[in-house]
């Protein structure tokens, strides 16, 4: 029996080591393939990503525009906010179903996606490199949408 368990552990360990050795590449998607997404993605390209990856949880359009921008102390106190890190309003996760709500939470969206990489939450797969590049370029170009 010990031998069997040892064999299984060996298989598990070998595969794990093999995978650990398969490091990823060394380029960002923007460096490797700069034309894979538009230089200035349109809202029509960006919003479906929010629809697919964010709005299933962040339903509604409640925003947090009355709250001050997040500063260092607020970052440190993120645990007081919702599990996503997005500022909760009255204990409710902000909705991201409207252009206005997305604009009002843009700083937190940036931190969650590009700094903490913790959205979608839990063990759900994170955004793909392509989705991140679309959002990053959209923000870099002024985050234009139908509401601004």
């Amino acid at each position: 029996m010990e031998r069997v368990v040892a064999v299984c552990r060996l298989l598990f360990g070998l595969l794990t080591l093999a995978v650990a050795g398969c490091g990823s590449g060394d380029l960002t998607l923007s460096q490797a393939d700069p034309d894979i997404v538009a230089r200035s993605p349109a809202w029509e390209v960006v919003y479906p990503i929010f629809q697919r990856e964010c709005i299933p949880c962040h339903t509604g359009t409640e925003d947090s525009s009355d709250e001050p921008d997040e500063d260092d102390s607020a970052l440190a106190a993120r645990s007081a906010h919702g599990p996503s890190g997005l500022r909760a309003v009255g204990g409710v996760e902000p909705g991201l179903e409207s252009c206005e709500a997305i604009q009002d939470n843009l700083d937190d969206i940036f931190i969650d996606i590009f700094v903490d990489n913790n959205m979608p939450p839990g063990a759900w797969p994170r955004l793909t490199s392509r989705e991140k590049l679309i959002i990053q370029r959209w923000i870099d170009n002024g985050a234009e949408g139908p509401c601004n």
Binding site: C8, R9, L15, D26, I36, N117, G122
Partner: protein
């Protein structure tokens, strides 16, 4: 540092190794005893190889020879006799002493003595058992003379082995303790029509659950769609078959976890209509080799095909082959899948996979352990036309602690683009499956995702699976 933390988690996971929900693993561990798939085979003489139906391939338990979905009489018998805490078909004798203590011997169909039910010893004897069939989910007998290549009456207790009409159901409710979501994850209503021997039509209408709630599940476009719809000629020598219609190409292990990282990036997510193709598949399982091969056309990668029109495809074509050897306590297999289509429709992909299973439980009765793995690698075209590669791994250990109670542990890994830095992720799961009675399974998992950058995060995933 990220890699070190990840490896520590993997090592911890290895130490805690227990089991996950993956149906191919049922087949892998079923060969430890014969009477978990049919009534006790005393004095059974194996028929010629061409007539053998009992093997470790998907068709042993499922109507679809490539696996998944509606179970046939053998699969239903396995669910009643072996999977659950309380058996409603006779419990395999090897499992008589494996009931959970508080359940005891409440099995409805098990005598716990030598007075065990017996099935037919030969094809000729099976006709005498036809009157014993009493099945509320499967009706009738196909037209034509009985075939030696179909399932035999009496081998599965009172279950109808070869019905004209069969209706099934598969419902999964899920709760995710991270976003505090509860949603109907999946609803399937498969129907099988088998008017004459050697010919079957299967239509499985299903819906994707929406994390945003019940209303979205039922209201959104394409919530309900034909997940599988095909006509099939089967019950042939060596369990050969030909089917034509909509299906998911046979590739690697057919897991019931549609979020598995070995499936999503390779366009084989079992929950999505986008993963369905329309084409022809042929195969055979002459005990123990197996082969499934298909040629198909498909909708563009980012386009959801029509829910009901199974001919709704775009330009391009694909082909898949899945072959290997499934022995009594181990199996190995290899798969290849290519898609050739214009770049705006998703571009070309070439995917290759190897997989295997080890089931020491067959030889060591007190080691109810099963291990399986799959490693996939392939090329794809980005939307810019540039080519790159992706890779993914899945491995899983199951420990059947008692009848109907299974501990699980699983490890996923993916590198969705090998040229891009920091896009890979590991996912670890550990949990328990409890099946109190056939058709009901409760599944609880603690899952951890470890992305290459950013923080690891966890959730608890609970699922109630009702099936028949």
């Amino acid at each position: 540092m990220q890699l070190g933390r990840c490896l520590m988690l993997v090592a911890l996971f290895a130490l805690l190794a227990g089991e996950a929900v993956a149906t191919p693993i049922y087949a892998a561990r079923s060969a430890r005893t014969c009477d978990n798939c049919h009534v006790t085979p005393k004095e059974w003489d194996n028929p010629p190889l061409a007539e053998r139906k009992c093997n470790m391939s998907c068709q042993s338990c499922h109507v679809d020879p490539a696996g998944g979905g509606m179970r046939n009489a053998s699969g239903r018998y396995f669910g009643r006799s072996t999977l659950s805490m309380i058996a409603t078909s006779p419990r395999p004798t090897n499992d008589w002493d494996r009931n959970v203590s508080f359940v005891g011997r409440r099995d409805r169909a098990t005598t716990y003595n030598d007075d065990l039910p017996l099935g037919p010893k030969t094809f000729e004897e099976a006709a005498a058992f036809a009157d014993a069939v009493n099945d509320g989910w499967a009706w009738g007998t196909p037209l034509g003379a009985p075939t030696r290549y179909g399932l035999l009456a009496g081998r599965y207790g009172t279950l109808n082995p070869d019905p004209v009409f069969r209706v099934g159901t598969d419902v999964r409710f899920a709760a995710l303790l991270s976003g505090s979501l509860a949603f109907p994850m999946q609803i399937d209503i498969p129907v099988v029509f088998h008017p004459v021997h050697h010919f079957t039509v299967l239509a499985n209408t299903g819906a994707r659950g929406r994390p945003s709630g019940y209303s979205d599940t039922f209201d959104q476009d394409h919530s309900f769609y034909l997940r599988e719809a095909f006509a099939m000629v089967h019950e042939a020598p060596y369990q050969a078959y030909v089917k034509a219609g909509r299906f998911v190409p046979s590739f690697g292990l057919r897991l019931d976890d549609h979020t598995a990282l070995i499936r999503r990036g390779f366009e084989l997510d079992g929950a999505l209509p986008e993963s369905r193709v329309s084409g022809v598949e042929v195969g055979a399982m002459p005990n123990y080799p197996f082969l499934n091969a298909s040629w198909f056309r498909m909708a563009a990668r980012q386009r959801v095909p029509d829910a009901w029109d199974i001919t709704d495809v775009d330009d391009g074509w694909g082909s898949a082959i899945n072959a290997g050897w499934r022995d009594l306590s181990w199996s190995v297999g290899a798969s290849a899948l290519i898609r050739r289509r214009p770049i705006p429709e998703g571009g070309d992909t070439s995917s290759y996979g190897v997989y295997g299973v080890v089931n020491p439980w067959r030889r060591w009765r007190f080691v109810p352990l099963t291990y399986q793995f799959e490693y996939d690698y392939g090329s794809f075209q980005r939307s810019s036309g540039a080519e790159s590669q992706q890779a993914a791994l899945y491995q899983e250990i199951q420990w059947v602690a008692a009848n109907g109670v299974t501990l699980l542990a699983a490890h996923d890994w993916e590198d969705p683009d090998t040229e891009i830095v920091d896009d890979e992720a590991h996912r670890l799961q550990t949990g328990v499956q409890v099946s109190p009675i056939s058709g009901v399974t409760l599944d609880g998992r603690f899952r951890v995702l470890v992305p290459a950058v950013g923080s690891a995060d966890s959730d608890i995933f609970l699922q109630l699976h009702l099936w028949q």
